[in-house]
Every structure is written in structure tokens, then in C-alpha cells.
């Protein structure tokens, strides 16, 4: 094992002729990490972790433990503890996740019913539990349960059907909902702002190696749990299933601090977090396998296979704990599940595919609108009033949802109602079929719909519209809110409506040859609308989140059998195809983009032919790379570099002249080490030399040299390097697969530059401008700009942003057409930007100075391009420049001129570009 390490070192020594003498002395540089000042090897807030470095550190630690194992019993115990600590940790996380889920489930079911009434004898029971033993139930109706007091009953209004009671209940419903939602929003604002939202985009980013301090802390856990209960109980169109993932990850983070192996190593901690995320989905849907697959498919970025089994264990532990708490009193982990196994027929597959397509459509529609609304909230004044916004949305939701019985109830209950088949106890209109009840198996088959079903369908249509629209505005409120349940509810409503339609179709044409195999001899047709509801739920969820395998498996575990897996798969697949045709990314990816998190998606392909040299820093015109030499800089010089630059790390080279690479040192480590040395070590002054080599020169006689500062231990001597000719495809792949934070670029063995993860992200984003939006509203403008451009009616205020989008859209096009080197392209687009913006801002009356500026920038645009080609065209460009400078005053003569030039045909591309620019300018004028 030690051979590897020496191999690396000696390779470094080989690369590094100045220090090839005594490098073996410091092979244990990582072993002694404990001696280093605290904080080294950690990361700052909002930084990207270096997976390779952290994993190497963990391997070192592990080697150390194995080496010490033979030293005695105590060390053996320590080693054993180290070996099983991962399992103990995930077990604890699983138990904690299960407990918190049970806590939240019970709390939510209790609190939801507080909007309508209270169980006076036992205030801790919800309505269903309150009337649990009420033997006087003619139907399951609350009015007949004496222990349950609705608010009107509490106020002494005896006539439960009258207008008075309705109004009292309506008003109290709204007031209680407003109180709960407002309280949730206040809690989030006062105690833990990170608790808002669904959390899945952030968890995704964190798992991909980003540090957000406090995002997985104790307060976030508590406020998220309580806020979720309040938010769901307030009747807002949001669910608690997505936030379960966040809650479980909080548990994972908290428990990982019990085990230093995980707590102190960010890369290792993410193994626990992956498992915790699996446990979160597992308790949300009662689907351990689905949870593991969800973690694998959607969340985890870096998923070593040993984590999978551990995740499964964690998910199972969580599900078991929740199951033994039995939070819904139905022996299941979720409120809705399918407990029937009616057959389905091949003809129905067409309907399932239709549902899938509708689900994909809705998913895309929802995603686009939600992102637009979130962007509006982010950029406008709306974002300044988060609590008012919550209250307004709650008010609207409560006001509109009370009159409709399907929206008044909790979303989970609605799903349960919709996915069930009609049994004898169902008194609702939804089950008002004209059945001939002489048959023993009366509820097994389909029947002609009664008036109640028709009314119910209308109500469901209204509920569908309401829920579908209000969820767009609800998801993204500053309260803890998930997306799974509202999406599933919308899908279930849609599916049920389609299901009832198919059922009536089959019943009406039961004699036709097409449906003949669906109806048995006794004129019994079997179409189960509940199944359609489940399929619809899966389809919409798939359309919104673009999950595939994990979603089908979750559904498979919810329905408890393989029977319905084909309908589910057909619907989810269609939904995914339809969705992908309209826009590739899921809602979580869209939110990651909206927030500009540094997330390098491992699903997207990168297919451009750029080189590492085009992406690396420094660019062609930038000052040279900021480096540290290994043995000739003083403490003061390094401190000066630290003060004046903001780079997060510095390459260490042999000397500035040779630029041979030695290693890489992180800013944070350097900072801590120097501050610490100044405090503790004697004789470290501003002009002490800093050595990154293993040997220091013997103190020269006579001269009183200050004590040297040896910092080799914080130096990463095995940084990943590539050459400047490496294609970006490879580089992106390296960043994805290895989880790099940065890579150094060399040329002929000399250090040339650096590529960081953010450079890569920026580079990728550069090629898809229509979907990229780091901080501004580009999508919106990019789609709007062509019409505006054609409309020829540009107000001044719009012009600036328009020019920005133009700058975005034109530059990648240029690069793909002309295959320009990156730096030049950047320069081009910049000048273009500069050209267009003054143009637009002063639409009609250009003063002379501006003209001058404009022509200058254009000249600068054209000339570097031409210098690449030939000297002949230079004259052309000069003449063009001349014509341009006149053009703005003599704009009538220009278009014919430019058009004639255009038609001459032999112009290089660059000239065509500038010409088209002129035409553009003309049109604008």
C-alpha cells in the first residue's frame, strides 16, 4: 500500500528536478493530519468539495488504522468500531427518519382536521380516529358521530345542514388555514430560513459536492418538520413527501457527527446522506426499494456500489420504524395504496397511454409556468413580501377549496378516495352507480353511472383546474412544501375522470366486439377507475419530475404487486417521452438552474469540439496565472497574494521561469497554516521564507535568516493535470466521473492554467443559452426578442436587456459557425454587446461621440477576425468601417450598399456578420 504512495511521490520528484533528492522523507504527510491546525481539509460555505482529495484522505486514515491494528486490543476494538460505524450510522439515521416521519404523519393527520372541528373528549384525535368506535354510523358521515364537534356544532348551531352552519364553518376554515400558514411562514423566517421549499434541488446539489452550511442542521430539521405539518394542514396545495427527503438528510447529517469518519470528511458524509435520502423516500411512500432507486437515479451524484446496500438497509430500517408506529391506523405506510387486484385488459392500454401523454403535457406546462413565476418572484418586488404572499395564496386556496368537497379534504385523502374502487361503504357521489344489487359480487364490476357520478365528475374537473393552477403558485412559497402529493393529486383526478369515461364507454357498448373480452357472461364489465387514478398520478409525477425507474418501482410498491406494472410503465414512459419532446429537464433541474447552483449534470451530454486551452484561466488577455513558488517566497509575499486575489487555490511551481508544477495548495489551508504559524511557531516573521519542499537549505552562516516556514504538509502533491490539447469532452467527463474541483493545464510539462468546476459549468452553459439563466431572466427574453426585433418598436427600457440576450444568443452561434477560439469569441460577443447597447439606448438621435464609439467597437470586432484570415480583407473592413461611420447619418444609402456587398458573395464570414449587424441596425432605426 505504501508503494503506491511512494510511486506518486517519486513521480512528483521525477517531474520536479529541483527537489529530487529527499522526497521520501515526507511520505506520511497525510498521516499526521491530526497535528495540523484544526480546520485544514474543511471547506468554506458555498464551496465545492474535492472528492478525490477527501477520498484519498479517508484512505490514508484507514491505512493508519490497519497499521496500528496489531498494536493491541484497544486498537483492534477501534478498528472494529471503524469498520461497523457506517452501518451503525445508517441504522440510527433510518430509525430517526422513521420516527420523524411518524411524528409528522400523526401531527399532520391531527392538525388537518382542526380546520373543520375538534374531538372534544380527546383533543389529540382527528376526525376519523375520534369516530373510530362510533357504532351509530349509518354512513361514515361526521354529522352522525357524536364525539366530533364541528365548529358550528361547537357554537351551538344545531342544524348542521343550514346556511348558518355553513357560513360559520367556511369562515373558521379560512381563519384557521390563514393562521396555520402564517405561523409556518413566520417560523421559517424567524428560526430557519433554509427550511423553506422542497429541498430536493438543494439536496441534489449538496450530494454533488457543494457545501451549504446550516442547510442540514438541527433547526432546519425542527422547523421543517413543524412547518410541514402546518403547511399541509393549512390546506395549501403542497405535500410533505418531498420534504421528507430533506428531513431524513438532516438526520443523516446530525448523526454523521457522531462518527468522525463521516463527520469530518465531506465526501464520506455524502455516502450517509445518499442513504438518508433513500430513507426519506422510503418513509414518504412506504417504498424502500423505490427509495434506494430514487436516491440512485435522481439524487446521488457519486454513488459507490457499497452505498447501495447500505442505503437499502437504511431505507428498510426507516420503513420498519414507521410501520410499527402505524401512523394512519391502516397498517400501511401511506394513506393511499391499492388493495384490490382487479384485472385489466389490453384495450385499456390505449387509455393508459393517453393518460401518460396528458401527464407529460401537464408536467411540462407546470414546470414552465412554475419556473416563470419563481423567476418573477425572484426579480420583482413580490420577493420582498414572502409572508404576505403566503397569506394571500392561503386565502385564495381556502376560499376556493372549501365549496368543493374534493378540494376541501386533504390531498392525501383525496388520492386515497380516487384510487380506491367503490365499495359498499362509499356514500359519496363518486360511487353513485346504478347497480343491480342482487349479485353477490356486486361491487366487483362496472355499472351505468348515476346522476351523482356525473355531478362528481364536474366537481372533479373543477378540482383539477383549481389544483393544477394553484400548485404553480404554491410551489416555491417560503414555507416547507413538496411537490409529490399535489402532482399526484392532479394526476389522480385526471386519471379518475378518464377512467370513468372509459368505464361508461365499455358499459354502453358492452356488446361490441371490441370490448367483448372485458365483459364476462353475467354482463359484468370490469373497468376500475381507481386504477386509472393511480396511473394518472404516476404519469403526472413522472411528467413533472422526469423520474422513470424509481417512480415505477415506487408505484409498484404502492400497489403491492406486479399486476399493474405494465400500465404504470406505459404511462410513465409516454409521459417522459412527451415531456422530453417539449423540454428536457425536470422541475428539480430547472430549479437548480434558476438558482444557479453549481451542479454538473451527469445526464447531459457535452458534444462540442473545444479544447481545454479555450476554457482554462487565464484567458489570452488576462494577467498570468497566480502561482506560488516552492522555495523562494516569503510569508509577506504570500499574504499579499492572499489579500489581493480571490482564488480558492494556488498552484505551486518550482520557479516562475520554469513553471514546472509541484502541487496545489488551497487558499483556506494556506490561510489557516500561516495564521497558525505566526501565532504558535517561534521566529516566523514577514520575511521568513516559505518552503513547500521536503528539505530546507541549511541555514547560511553569518546572515541572520529568519526561521523558515515549512508548509509541505498542506500541499496536495498529486493534483490532476491535463494538457492544453485535451478535448473538453474528456475534461467534462473527468469532472463528472472523478468529482474534481479543479484541474491544472500544462503545456510541454509547464503549468499553463487552471480549469475549475465553475469554468466548466460556465462553458457548458454557454452552449445552451436558451435554457441557461444564471441570474437573469434570459429564457423569457430570449423567446421574446425575435418578435420584438421584428416589431420594430423598442422602448428604451427594454433595449438593454434585449441587447444582453442578443449577446447571449449570438455569441455561441458565432463560435459554432466560425469555430473561433474561445477568447476571441468572447471578445467578439463583448464588442457586439457594446455595439448593440448604445445603439438601442439612443434609438434615433445618435450624437457624434456615440457614433465614434460605435464604429470603433465595430472596427475592433472586425479587425482581430480579419487578422486571422488575410490582409486583403483588411482593406475591405476598413472601407466598411468608413461606410459605417457615415452610415448612421446617411442611413438611407446604407442598406443598398450592404445588400450589394452581401450579394457579391465572396465575403468572409466575418464581414457577413458585420453586414448583418448593419442591417440589424438599419431595421432598428
Amino acid at each position: 500500500m505504501m508503494d503506491d504512495e511512494e510511486g506518486i511521490i517519486s513521480f512528483q520528484a521525477f517531474n520536479n528536478p529541483a527537489s529530487n533528492k529527499k522526497t521520501y522523507g515526507s511520505t506520511n504527510l497525510m498521516d499526521t493530519l491530526e497535528d495540523l491546525p484544526p480546520g485544514i481539509g474543511q471547506y468554506d460555505d458555498f464551496h465545492t468539495i474535492d472528492w478525490l482529495r477527501d477520498i484519498a484522505r479517508d484512505r490514508m486514515r484507514h491505512r493508519n488504522i490497519i497499521k496500528k491494528k496489531s498494536e493491541g486490543i484497544w486498537e483492534k476494538i477501534k478498528s472494529a468500531h471503524d469498520a461497523w460505524s457506517g452501518w451503525v450510522c445508517v441504522l440510527l439515521v433510518g430509525i430517526a427518519a422513521g420516527l420523524s416521519a411518524g411524528f409528522i404523519d400523526i401531527g399532520t393527520t391531527w392538525m388537518s382536521d382542526l380546520k373543520e372541528g375538534i374531538c372534544l373528549d380527546a383533543f389529540w384525535l382527528n376526525r376519523e380516529q375520534c369516530c373510530w368506535l362510533a357504532n351509530d354510523t349509518t354512513f361514515d358521515e361526521a354529522a352522525n358521530c357524536s364525539q366530533w364537534y364541528t365548529y358550528s356544532k361547537l357554537f351551538g348551531i344545531t342544524n348542521s345542514q343550514g346556511a348558518g352552519s355553513y357560513i360559520v364553518e367556511y369562515i373558521l376554515y379560512i381563519i384557521v388555514a390563514l393562521f396555520m400558514a402564517g405561523f409556518a411562514a413566520m417560523l421559517v423566517r424567524v428560526f430557519a430560513p433554509y427550511a423553506c421549499g422542497s429541498g430536493i434541488p438543494e439536496i441534489k446539489t449538496i450530494l454533488s459536492g457543494f457545501i451549504i452550511r446550516g442547510y442540514l442542521g438541527k433547526w432546519t430539521l425542527m422547523i421543517k418538520s413543524v412547518g410541514m405539518m402546518l403547511g399541509v394542514s393549512a390546506g395549501l396545495s403542497l405535500g410533505k413527501e418531498g420534504p421528507f427527503v430533506h428531513v431524513a438528510c438532516c438526520c443523516g447529517n446530525i448523526f454523521s457527527y457522531l462518527f468522525p469518519k463521516y463527520g469530518k470528511n465531506e465526501a464520506k458524509k455524502r455516502e450517509i446522506l445518499s442513504a438518508a435520502a433513500a430513507a426519506g423516500v422510503s418513509v414518504a411512500f412506504g417504498a424502500p426499494v423505490g427509495g434506494v432507486l430514487f436516491s440512485l437515479e435522481e439524487l446521488s451524484y457519486y454513488f459507490p456500489l457499497k452505498t447501495m446496500w447500505r442505503s437499502f438497509f437504511c431505507a428498510l430500517a426507516a420503513a420498519f420504524v414507521l410501520r410499527s408506529m402505524n401512523p394512519f391506523g391502516n397498517d400501511h405506510l401511506v394513506m393511499f395504496y391499492i388493495d384490490y387486484n382487479e384485472p385489466w385488459y389490453l384495450q385499456e392500454l390505449a387509455a393508459f397511454i393517453l393518460i401518460g401523454a396528458l401527464g407529460g403535457l401537464y408536467g411540462t406546462f407546470f414546470k414552465k409556468l412554475n419556473i416563470m413565476w419563481c423567476r418573477y418572484r425572484k426579480t420583482s418586488n413580490l420577493g420582498k413580501y414572502p409572508i404576505v404572499e403566503v397569506l394571500v395564496i392561503t386565502f385564495i386556496t381556502a376560499l376556493l377549496s372549501f365549496p368543493n368537497q374534493y378540494t376541501r379534504m386533504n390531498s392525501s385523502e383525496l388520492i386515497r378516495l380516487l384510487v380506491n374502487r367503490c365499495g359498499p361503504e362509499d356514500y359519496r357521489e363518486l360511487c353513485d352507480y346504478n347497480r343491480s344489487i342482487t349479485n353477490v359480487n356486486v361491487y366487483g364490476g362496472s355499472a351505468v353511472a348515476g346522476d351523482g357520478v356525473i355531478r362528481a365528475v364536474w366537481q372533479l374537473v373543477l378540482a383539477f383546474l383549481f389544483k393544477g393552477i394553484i400548485t404553480v403558485f404554491t410551489f416555491g412559497l417560503k414555507v416547507p412544501c413538496g411537490l409529490f402529493i399535489p402532482s399526484m393529486a392532479v394526476g389522480a383526478i385526471m386519471g379518475r375522470i378518464v377512467g370513468i369515461g372509459v368505464e361508461q364507454l365499455v358499459v354502453a357498448y358492452r356488446d361490441s366486439w371490441f370490448f367483448s373480452n372485458m365483459c364476462t357472461a353475467q354482463e359484468m364489465c370490469t373497468v376500475t377507475p381507481g386504477l386509472y387514478a393511480m396511473v394518472g398520478a404516476a404519469a403526472v409525477l413522472g411528467g413533472v419530475t422526469r423520474m422513470t425507474v424509481s417512480l415505477v418501482v415506487v408505484m409498484f410498491e404502492l400497489t403491492g404487486g406486479l399486476l399493474y406494472i405494465v400500465p404504470m410503465m406505459a404511462a410513465v414512459m409516454t409521459s417522459k417521452w412527451v415531456g422530453d419532446a417539449l423540454g428536457r429537464e425536470g422541475i428539480y433541474d430547472a430549479h437548480i438552474r434558476l438558482n444557479g447552483y453549481p451542479y454538473l449534470d451527469s445526464k447531459e451530454e457535452f458534444t462540442h469540439t473545444t479544447m481545454a486551452a479555450d476554457v482554462m484561466r487565464p484567458r489570452r488577455n488576462d494577467p498570468p496565472l497566480c502561482v506560488i513558488t516552492q522555495d523562494s517566497m516569503t510569508v509577506e509575499e504570500i499574504e499579499c497574494i492572499l489579500r489581493e486575489t480571490e482564488h480558492n487555490g494556488f498552484p505551486v511551481v518550482v520557479s516562475r521561469e520554469s513553471q514546472y508544477l509541484v502541487g496545489f495548495v488551497l487558499r483556506r489551508d494556506l490561510n489557516i497554516a500561516i495564521t497558525n504559524a505566526r501565532k504558535i511557531q517561534d521566529g516566523i516573521v514577514s520575511n521568513s521564507l516559505v518552503y513547500f519542499t521536503s528539505h530546507t537549505p541549511p541555514p547560511s552562516q553569518g546572515v541572520m535568516a529568519p526561521a523558515p516556514l515549512k508548509l509541505r504538509r498542506i500541499l496536495d502533491m498529486a493534483p490532476i493535470t491535463i494538457t492544453d490539447q485535451t478535448p473538453m469532452e474528456t475534461v467534462v467527463e473527468m469532472f463528472r466521473k472523478l468529482g474534481l474541483r479543479q484541474t491544472l493545464v500544462t503545456h510541454n510539462g509547464r503549468l499553463l492554467g487552471i480549469i475549475t468546476k465553475k469554468d466548466v459549468l460556465r462553458h457548458i452553459a454557454h452552449f445552451i443559452p436558451f435554457f441557461y439563466n444564471c441570474n437573469e431572466d434570459h429564457i423569457f427574453l430570449a423567446t421574446l426578442s425575435p418578435p420584438l426585433y421584428l416589431l420594430n418598436s423598442l422602448p428604451n427600457s427594454l433595449s438593454f436587456s434585449l441587447s444582453q440576450t442578443l449577446f447571449r444568443t449570438v455569441s455561441p452561434k458565432l463560435s459554432s459557425e466560425l469555430s473561433l477560439p474561445n477568447s476571441l469569441q468572447n471578445c467578439l460577443s463583448q464588442t457586439l454587446f457594446r455595439t448593440v447597447s448604445p445603439k438601442l439606448s439612443s434609438e434615433l438621435s445618435l450624437p457624434n461621440s456615440l457614433q465614434n464609439c460605435l464604429s470603433q467597437t465595430l472596427f475592433r470586432t472586425v479587425s482581430p477576425k480579419l487578422s486571422l484570415r488575410s490582409s486583403q480583407t483588411l482593406s475591405l473592413s476598413l472601407s466598411l468601417w468608413n461606410s459605417l461611420s457615415n452610415s448612421l447619418s446617411l442611413s438611407q444609402t446604407l442598406p443598398p450598399l450592404s445588400l450589394s456587398l452581401w450579394n457579391s458573395g465572396t465575403l468572409p464570414l466575418s464581414l457577413e456578420l458585420s453586414l448583418s449587424l448593419l442591417i440589424y441596425a438599419k431595421i432598428c432605426l
Binding site: 400523526i106 380516529q129 368506535l133 417560523l187 430560513p193 433554509y194 452550511r213 446550516g214 391506523g329 365499495g423
Partner: protein, 195 residues
């Protein structure tokens, strides 16, 4: 935060102690039947029959009262399910939730209303210009200004220790407030996260 935690534990213990027996029964047998008009005319309109019986007795014959005369025809149409729940657990959980929610409410009210008053008190000695900073920055540590009156020497050691604990608690709280403030700035002002 320490005292809040103790209060929380106290609540927890109180809850566990007060739960002696569950008032509400924890199991039932629920039979769902079509209306009895199917088999005879003695219309009761009831469709759901619930009784507290043992799991092995959870059958239509034992549960449905009054049993129609043609039980052999009626009972196959019924669906009987034995269900159980844990009201004690629900009671404990709900009480804990009420405790937590009310504690959070009280603490929130304290932070929003009383705390600004308390923090402003030492600030009164200084200039008015501090007002602006107080909103954006975490307030300066009061530890420097707190020990203004030296206590009697015999009490000093004891008080000193108490104060150091108090200081630590208040430092911890300061730190926490600072991080929350930072989070608030990220989310509500800069909109750089969680939009």
C-alpha cells in the same frame, strides 16, 4: 436555548407520566355491508358495523347487530376487517407537537417583540447612529458591558461561574442569530437560494 430545552424535557416527562391508560379503544372490527334491503325488508339503512371484538371473532355473524334473518345470504356480501391503532402513541405525539409549537411560538414572540427591547437597552448609552447597524449586523456582544458592578468577593466565584455559563449560552445564541440572519439575507434579500 438551554432553559428551553429543559422545559421541553419537562413537557416530555409530564406527557409520559400523565398517559396512564388510553381512554379510547385500540382495536375494532369493521364490517361493511350492503343495505339489508338486499335480503329482507327490515330496513335499517346501516352499512357499516363496528364492534370491539377479538381478531378471531371478526366475522359478519358476530359483528352485525341486528343480524338479518337470512344471514347466510347477507353475510357473504359483507367485508369485515380487523383494525388496530395506538391511541397512546397518538396522544404522546400530539402533546409533544403542541408543546413544541407553543414553545416555538413563545420563543418567536420573544425574539420578535422583547428581544429588540432588551438589546437596545445597553445601546442607549451610545449614539443613535447604531440603530442602522443593529438591523444588518449581529448586535455587539454584551459580555464586555455586562460585568459592570463587581459583586462581593465571597459570591464572586459562584456568580462568575454562573455568568460564564450565561455568557456561553448568550454567545451561542448570538452565533445562531448571526447564521440565521445570513440565511435570511441569502433567501429574502439577495434571492440567491431557494427561489
Amino acid at each position: 436555548m438551554g432553559n428551553l430545552k429543559y422545559l421541553f424535557y419537562f413537557c416530555l416527562v409530564a406527557v409520559v407520566l400523565t398517559v396512564v391508560t388510553a381512554q379510547y379503544e385500540d382495536y375494532r372490527c369493521k364490517c361493511v355491508c350492503p343495505s339489508q334491503t338486499v335480503v329482507n325488508a327490515s330496513e335499517t339503512g346501516r352499512k357499516v358495523y363496528i364492534r370491539k371484538v377479538n381478531p378471531n371473532q371478526c366475522k359478519c355473524e358476530d359483528v352485525v347487530r341486528p343480524l338479518p334473518e337470512k344471514a347466510t345470504e347477507f353475510c357473504p356480501r359483507c367485508e369485515c376487517k380487523y383494525q388496530s391503532r395506538n391511541t397512546t402513541l397518538i396522544k404522546i405525539m400530539v402533546t409533544i407537537i403542541i408543546c413544541i409549537v407553543s414553545l416555538l411560538f413563545v420563543y418567536m414572540v420573544f425574539l420578535l417583540c422583547l428581544d429588540p427591547l432588551l438589546v437596545k437597552k445597553p445601546g442607549r448609552y451610545t449614539e443613535q447612529t447604531n440603530e442602522e447597524d443593529e438591523q444588518s449586523l449581529p448586535p455587539p456582544a454584551p459580555g464586555t458591558s455586562a460585568p459592570s458592578t463587581p459583586p462581593a468577593p465571597s459570591l464572586r466565584a459562584h456568580l462568575g461561574r454562573q455568568r460564564s455559563i450565561l455568557n456561553r449560552v448568550s454567545d451561542e445564541q448570538k452565533k445562531w442569530k448571526g447564521t440565521v440572519q445570513e440565511q435570511r439575507r441569502n433567501i429574502y434579500d439577495r434571492h440567491s437560494m431557494l427561489n
